[in-house]
Symmetry: C2
Subunit: 392 residues, 2 copies
Amino acid sequence: MKVLPGFKFNGIASGIKKNGVKDLGLIYSEVPAAAAGVFTTNRVKAAPVLISQKRMRSGTAQAVLVNSGNANACTGDKGMKAACQLSTTLARRMKIKEEMILVSSTGVIGVPLPAERIQGNIPILIGGLSPYKIGEFAQSILTTDTFPKIVMKEVEIGNKQVEIWGVAKGAGMVMPNMATMLAFVMSTASVHPATLRNLLKDGVDQSFNRITVDGETSTNDMVLMLVNGKAGNSVLTKNSKEIKKFRDALFSLLFELARMIVKDGEGATKLVEIRVEKARSVNEARTAAFAVANSPLVKTALYGEEVNWGRIMAVLGRCGVAIDPGKVHISFGKVKVVKNSVACGTEEKAQEVLKGKEFAIVISLNRGKGSFQVSTTDLTPAYVAINSSYRS
Amino acid sequence: MKVLPGFKFNGIASGIKKNGVKDLGLIYSEVPAAAAGVFTTNRVKAAPVLISQKRMRSGTAQAVLVNSGNANACTGDKGMKAACQLSTTLARRMKIKEEMILVSSTGVIGVPLPAERIQGNIPILIGGLSPYKIGEFAQSILTTDTFPKIVMKEVEIGNKQVEIWGVAKGAGMVMPNMATMLAFVMSTASVHPATLRNLLKDGVDQSFNRITVDGETSTNDMVLMLVNGKAGNSVLTKNSKEIKKFRDALFSLLFELARMIVKDGEGATKLVEIRVEKARSVNEARTAAFAVANSPLVKTALYGEEVNWGRIMAVLGRCGVAIDPGKVHISFGKVKVVKNSVACGTEEKAQEVLKGKEFAIVISLNRGKGSFQVSTTDLTPAYVAINSSYRS
């Protein structure tokens, strides 16, 4: 089994969730690691977001404590105290500075975090830390996800083997800005903190900020990245010759994690790329792509495998982009179904594309050079079932 | 049975829909009527929208031809020709000017209108016109609606009895701007055309533009109003003493029709008012209210009768309004569940409210004096079922 030199992990059941399901995870770096984070743009921010955002300013961190089953959001001063209490306990037990601990939560909003119960399990959490428990950690952060999400990459930087591991969770309240989920990236690379921040921000823009499950941006989103320098490469900065190699590996890892989140979107049976081309600008393409990707009528038609391209036209017409209503082309996969806003008579072929599990819908607005692609899911009875009994 | 002096109606099956379901309706005014219309803001406009919008400029009309089962949208030049062909036939047969005929369509987008088949049924449609067939007309314009929507009002204007009748259809692609549906209002009042236009526009803003089923604005929306003056009141203008009485009756009719549309929203089991208060402005309140009213997570929680107010907080935080995340109050009916953004411990009482079929969720942002109310529905498995097999 692979290890990530200098990092240890654990994931246990601390009693937040019922039936002994794992709900508490820990990432530990043996040395202080350079760290960067991207946090939710939701104005309602959970306590752990506020705390980690503040602690991230130093650009270093050594541990990440994550719980699922409770978002610790809209919990007021008590929520802040609960989160701090846990990180104080962890700091004392691990003999590291409290400011080196990042915290992260996901789950139901507005319910007090059972801090006492969690606190009692911290010794067990620390005691079980191991280089081999990335799987346990990945399990412990899940909510409605149906599978754990881990991606591992290797890249050679200046003759040194650099490892990058990423772990993420979805699966509802997923819509960028930034993408609405948790992800943790650990690497043995040595990277200058400012470079790391920029890399992570750009990488998130290219990946998690281009997915949606339900158009909802959560109160708890965060992507954290810790690099411990164990690979022994000379410190990467934006001017390093080999920064592109590292960026490519990191971006491809983030992209794969983001796709896993969409694929495991609540109730999803399909992963659909919505690509808008020839918009006047990238912004305009983004607006149109997200409007289509979040449309309940488009998403239910995807679930039903119906070639109902009229719904896409209707969304394009209402999304605020000044489209020319007579100039739109739409393809399902490689099958052109709409040319200049009217049907091509290829519905049977398009229907075959829709039966697939993964395909693209390409929309050309024919008014410029901007393009943007969003990954989305279908809207299914299972989505409704999951979310109408979330707290039960 | 009541009649509306000077107006006749009919609704028949013309073969657009399967199994002999009514799909073609006609409203006829014996005299040229003063007319006003409000049309969809979707940039993709169906052929009948473009035609009726143009003909409405004269401020008079004498007939409205409506079909369901086919939107005649995204059908290109052929769609325009098909709609014109039908109104030409109707004009000849009825011996009225073609410009006096308004057309309206609802149903699937992008499928050619079977104009020949419809045309063959126009003589039957005209032959069956009757003052008693408002019910048949109301049936003929339905799509996924489960019940016809008719509201009748009487109001005394200058000792004359004035009647106002309204007919509408929903039930999906419903979201204002303007509200996404068809509605037809007929009255025996005498109203100055400019006054009528303003009244209708304001009335629609207060009613249809404050509802949503799924956040989708259709390509075919229109509200048309015809007044024939048969009541014999002196012409109402904005300065008339009794304009307020007429406005109140009209607005209450429009409001009732709009509520019927939400109540009959696709798959809906609940009618919920989302009222945002103490926003900095009405616009801000509108933005927040619609974001909550269209949130799939809020709407699935409503269906599941779950007191998941955290999802409302999350929507408020992401909706673009600069809320103070610590100052929000939320009530379900009369039960306050959130004070200053944290739980009040009243979930059991709130749960009782959620079990009702109709209730209000009141959100106070505590940052100003703007308020806005939106009527919405829950998101149910039936919505997904209806819309994943719409064309089948």
